[in-house]
């Protein structure tokens, strides 16, 4: 979770408090807080960490990083089902009822 992942701003919700927007991370879309990059525009790339955009990034670098993170398996780690992954690592069946685990609470 320490890595910040680049993504493309596809929508901005100006009425949200704090300011938020929809970010596309190579196919996976998630809401992120834009309060720290308040003048960002739709179509620009930002570096997002734990749901917060921290800086802008140019498109070329963003796409290169996304490719790398995918190769490293880090996108799966960041956006996949953490309970399933933990269960796999533990060599046990997934803990029941992880559906309500809140990972999609927003």
């Amino acid at each position: 979770m320490c890595l910040a992942v680049p993504g493309k701003v596809v929508a901005i919700d100006a009425s949200a408090d704090p300011l938020s927007g929809l970010i596309d991370f190579g196919g996976v879309r998630k809401q992120a807080c834009l309060e720290y990059v308040p003048d960002v525009r739709v179509g620009e790339y930002v570096i997002v960490h734990v749901g917060f955009a921290l800086q802008r990034l140019d498109e070329e670098s963003a796409l290169a990083s996304l490719k790398l993170f995918e190769e490293l398996g880090l996108l799966e780690e960041e956006f996949g089902d953490a309970w399933e992954q933990a269960a796999k690592e533990a060599g046990t069946a997934a803990v029941a009822e992880h559906q309500d685990s809140g990972s999609d609470a927003r």
């Binding site: 320490c2 890595l3 800086q55 790398l68 992954q85 933990a86 990972s103």
Partner: protein
């Protein structure tokens, strides 16, 4: 050159390597601070592509790895309580406490939930007014603006059932501690790019000056890392020790001022213990008095925790760059991602996990790498 064809731009990688080779006339030891960089280095075999004179030492830059056992045990204790919803990032689930982990606590009936952002935890507090929602606020400077915003919002919304279990760490004091250690061999740093995206580089010139080390702010892609190494070696060879920004596309000198302001409103600098390393002065953040009501350690009585580290685990030495993971006798035998003894084998950014995943038992064949990868992540 084993992995070089997998580089984004193999020709540029070759040129950078040639230049590093031509520049380095003496042995130099550089530390990459960030765990993400460690993974990128091992995955692409950068350490093996470098000329013999240039050695990379892996640093402590993985927040999951350095979260102290005592805090993990406090998290397990709070998460076990009835009425509590305990929220954490997914990569904390399997970090071993003294006798179990969060994954197990969930299996035993604790309400442990994985969130992607601290704002998700805040939302849970809003929608569950009759429950105590505790968020495990770990991380470096990169994570701090998010956690600061969450607690700031909680106060604004008057959410009395939300709190943070805080274990925040800061990079510059860790660099200072590493350089001050008698056994330190580090002569230059690749500073963590995303930490600097938030904080800027203002804290570094003083360190470069005091310890006479080049600090090159570096990104995560293999080419970024080679470029960082190239610049650090060039400085070392010419007897310089400056701060250089090799990741300017994401790092401004003043970082992100709005994020820094929010951190300073909510947190104050404090001493922190780092798992396996021990106490480092001024190396962390805690909530200021104004936000004390949102501190889980105040809200829950967790003073009777007794912790015990597994004796075999040498993650402290790994995190300080004193040994490589493969020098630990438990590596790959009693300690694997399935049966981890230390957090450095669990975390997605841990050095032991990187070696296990990409270079199992020092046998960097593509087959071994693939086998290890499949074992850790069968769907990949």
């Amino acid at each position: 050159m084993k992995y070089i064809d997998e580089f984004n731009d193999p020709d540029l990688a070759r040129r950078l390597l040639d230049e590093i080779r031509a520049t380095a006339t003496r042995p130099w030891a550089l530390m990459e601070v960030c765990g993400g960089q460690t993974h990128s280095i091992i995955r692409h075999g950068i350490d093996q592509l470098l000329p013999e004179q240039v050695e990379l030492i892996h640093g402590p830059g993985c927040p999951v790895c350095v979260t102290p056992l005592e805090i993990i045990d406090k998290a397990l204790e709070i998460a076990s309580r009835p009425g509590v919803i305990f929220c954490s990032f997914g990569d904390m689930l399997r970090v071993p406490g003294t006798d179990r982990d969060l994954f197990r606590v969930k299996g035993e009936g604790g309400d442990v939930r994985v969130v992607y952002s601290p704002l998700d935890a805040l939302e849970l507090a809003r929608s569950n007014p009759d429950r105590e929602v505790v968020f495990f606020a770990i991380g470096f400077e990169t994570t701090a603006p998010a956690n600061a915003m969450a607690v700031h919002q909680a106060r604004r919304l008057g959410l009395a059932n939300f709190s943070l279990l805080v274990s925040h760490v800061r990079v510059p004091p860790a660099i200072e501690a590493i350089m001050s250690a008698p056994a330190c061999r580090v002569q230059g740093f690749l500073a963590a790019g995303h930490v600097c995206s938030v904080m800027g580089t203002a804290e570094y010139p003083e360190l470069a000056e005091r310890f006479g080390v080049p600090l090159v702010v570096t990104g995560f892609e293999p080419l970024d890392i080679l470029e960082g190494i190239r610049r650090a070696v060039r400085q070392l060879e010419s007897g310089e020790h400056r701060v250089e920004n090799a990741y300017a596309r994401a790092v401004r000198e003043d970082g992100n001022p709005a994020a820094v302001r929010m951190i300073e409103e909510v947190f104050e600098v404090t001493d922190r213990s780092w798992r396996g390393i021990g106490r480092i002065p001024s190396s962390g953040w805690r909530l200021t008095d104004a936000f004390r009501a949102f501190d889980a350690e105040h809200r829950f009585d967790v003073t009777r925790i007794r912790t015990e580290e597994p004796a075999e685990c040498r993650s402290g030495d790994v995190l300080q760059g004193l040994i490589k993971p493969t020098e630990c006798s438990a590596f790959g035998t009693t300690c694997t991602p399935r049966t981890p003894l230390g957090a450095t084998m669990v975390s997605s950014e841990g050095a032991c996990a990187a070696y296990y995943l990409y270079r199992r038992m020092n046998a960097p064949t593509p087959q071994a790498t693939r086998a290890a990868r499949e074992e850790m992540n069968p769907v990949a």
